[in-house]
């Protein structure tokens, strides 16, 4: 027998090389959500109040993450920034999830011209290097939170539109969809009530994996000076500010917000992974 034939039934599971999403990520995401809601209330200092007498102090019990060049408490600023960063990321993901799912569902269900128009639009977006596109959009829309949200959501749109398109298309001729048509159920209801609930777990996993990326994208835009303006505490801005002092030895201004950013990206990535295992309908 050929190698193909004999290997087929004995195919073994390969060891997974990625970090397993586990309960740790759920706790971390919970912590981030807690900080987003209550952070500004529990921080020891006003995150925007300057105090030049204590500028550029290294971490100490009074200032856990040290202070910046104008004497603001880095710990308070890092914690206070959580709300804005998560809001931008969640807002952008929800926006692209909503629009992307609608577009993808229309394209996947209707096919024909609808599909062609949607697919070409998506391909056009995909044609750009994504971060460069985000920079262009954010620059065009001016300095506001919304411009970051919109720029991030536009570059994320293809992810949701493509997934939804192929998942809806795959189920279009499924027996249960035909059965719904036989009962005189309209197209919109079939897609919304009969097909999308089956696609939802896949999208939910993508969305949670995508939040980490969106946080990074938003921070990247502010790092470049687009979108949100100082002195608003935001991780990207904090990292950008800190970068100026990295080589003069005041590492804490750069390292702590940077670490927070990495932690957030990892937490949501792990959470998405955990969700994937949970939402598999065959496990219920």
């Amino acid at each position: 027998m050929t190698a193909d034939a004999t290997d087929a039934p004995a195919r073994r599971r390969l060891p997974r090389l990625r970090v397993r999403g586990g309960a740790w990520s759920v706790w971390l995401v919970g912590l981030f959500l807690f900080l987003a809601v209550f952070g500004p209330m529990i921080v020891p200092y006003d995150p925007v109040a300057t105090n030049t007498r204590v500028s550029l102090q290294p971490p100490s019990w009074a200032h856990l993450f040290g202070t910046d060049d104008v004497g603001r408490d880095v710990f308070s600023r890092v914690i206070a920034a959580t709300r804005l960063d998560l809001m931008i990321a969640l807002g952008a993901v929800l926006l692209s999830l909503g629009i992307g799912t609608a577009l993808g569902a229309a394209a996947g269900w209707a096919g024909g011209w609808t599909d062609r128009i949607v697919s070409r639009t998506i391909d056009t977006i995909m044609g750009f290097p994504l971060f460069v596109l985000a920079v262009g959009i954010a620059a065009g829309l001016g300095n506001s939170v919304w411009s970051v949200v919109i720029a991030t959501s536009v570059v994320n749109l293809p992810l949701y539109a493509r997934t939804t398109r192929s998942e809806v298309n795959r189920r279009r001729s499924a027996g249960y969809v035909q059965a719904a048509r036989l009962s005189g159920i309209g197209s919109f209801t079939i897609v919304a009530r009969h097909i999308l609930p089956n696609v939802a777990p896949i999208l939910a996993v993508q969305a949670s994996l995508n939040i980490g990326w969106a946080i990074l994208n938003a921070a990247g835009l502010s790092f470049l000076g687009l979108g949100i303006r100082p002195p608003t505490p935001e991780w990207g801005i904090l990292v950008a500010d800190g970068a100026d002092f990295l080589f003069s030895g005041e590492w804490w201004m750069f390292v702590f917000p940077g670490a927070m950013l990495v932690l957030a990206v990892l937490a949501f990535g792990g959470f998405g992974d955990w969700l994937r295992d949970r939402l598999d309908p065959k496990r219920a």
Partner: protein
């Protein structure tokens, strides 16, 4: 040629009556399960004989076939008194079968297209296998591959040798897989539901071909199927499995026409070809036993209208049935 003539002129040796494959006391367990998935199964296949392993899904028929072929997943724990292939003991050293597989033991299974490499022309795939067994290269090898395709009655074999699996129909792919299995000139062919998913005319053509090849080469066949009707048509003997237990064994016609085990009788009643009207059809009552829990000694007891207390506490003995069958039942049909 003289040597060959000399061989042919010699008086033929007495026919070898020892079975080609003899399995005895085979049990297979999977982790986390209290009861073994396959329990104490024994059967033998004579040279040139076709034995059908028949049962519903979950009966363990494919697991047994995979064990014989030595391609069972590592997670399974195999216990056997003996698995003897032409005198070679496979139960002790599981690697012994590696040397046999592809040469003396060939295998075909369902969904042949998935078993063929999608990126190689089928002629090349067959050529690769032939090259392992015969010292052929280049043009001679290509010709041998075309011959192998012609042998499994693929029309226009020269052109088809250049085709990729996706360009061939399901029936053609199954023929290619058969040609691959035959290239090693096996003594035993394991055919695991080889025609599931194929049309009836294609099924008949493939099984006819299998039978003809087996007869021509005096090859033994282990034929796995859930359809006792097919087993009756194409096998010499059948072994009926229920939930991992061998319940009956005998010549195909005897088991089909006069089943002794209530389960075999139920399987016979489910064959549409045998029923005059739909009222003659019978399914199998009750639920398939859940092997992740505890089960009665005779695993069919809970589905059997003839069951008595003894069936639940004592595993039925395999008793001989004249002329050459065996049945494992405390209250067999007469």
């Amino acid at each position: 040629m003289n040597a060959l003539t000399a061989v042919l002129d010699q008086p033929s040796p007495p026919p070898d009556t020892s079975p080609l494959l003899a399995v005895s006391g085979l049990s297979i367990s999977f982790g986390g399960r209290i009861v073994p998935t396959v329990q104490d199964v024994s059967f033998a296949i004579a040279r040139g004989e076709t034995l059908a392993l028949v049962g519903e899904s979950g009966s363990g028929k494919s697991i047994i076939a995979h064990t014989v072929a030595g391609i069972l997943a590592d997670a399974a724990r195999v216990n056997a008194t003996s698995i003897s292939f032409d005198g070679i003991e496979l139960a002790v050293d599981r690697r012994a079968v590696e040397a046999l597989r592809g040469r003396r033991i060939g295998m075909v299974f369902q969904n042949a297209r998935a078993a063929l490499s999608p990126t190689l022309a089928v002629g090349t795939q067959i050529g690769d296998v032939i090259a392992r067994h015969r010292k052929l290269r280049g043009r001679a090898l290509r010709e041998a591959a075309v011959e192998a395709l012609a042998a499994v009655r693929i029309p226009d074999p020269e052109r088809r040798a250049k085709a990729y699996p996706h360009e061939l129909s399901g029936g053609m792919c199954q023929r290619v897989m058969l040609a691959l299995a035959m290239a090693g000139e096996p003594d035993l062919l394991i055919a695991d539901e080889p025609t599931t998913g194929l049309d009836n005319t294609t099924q008949a053509a493939i099984l006819d071909l299998l039978a003809a090849e087996a007869k021509r080469r005096l090859m033994s066949t282990l034929f796995i199927t859930h359809d006792l009707g097919l087993a009756r048509d194409y096998a010499d003997r059948v072994a009926v499995l229920h939930a991992g237990q061998l319940v009956e064994e005998g010549s195909a016609l005897t088991v089909f026409d006069a089943p002794r085990h209530p389960y075999s009788a139920r399987l016979v009643r489910a064959v549409p070809a045998r029923a005059a009207t739909v009222a003659d059809l019978g399914g199998i009552p009750g639920k398939f036993p859940d092997l992740s829990g505890t089960v009665p000694a005779c695993r069919f007891a809970d589905r059997c209208e003839r069951a008595v207390e003894r069936c639940r506490t004592e595993v039925p003995r395999l008793d001989p049935v004249p002329p050459d069958g065996r049945v494992a039942c405390w209250r067999p049909l007469v």
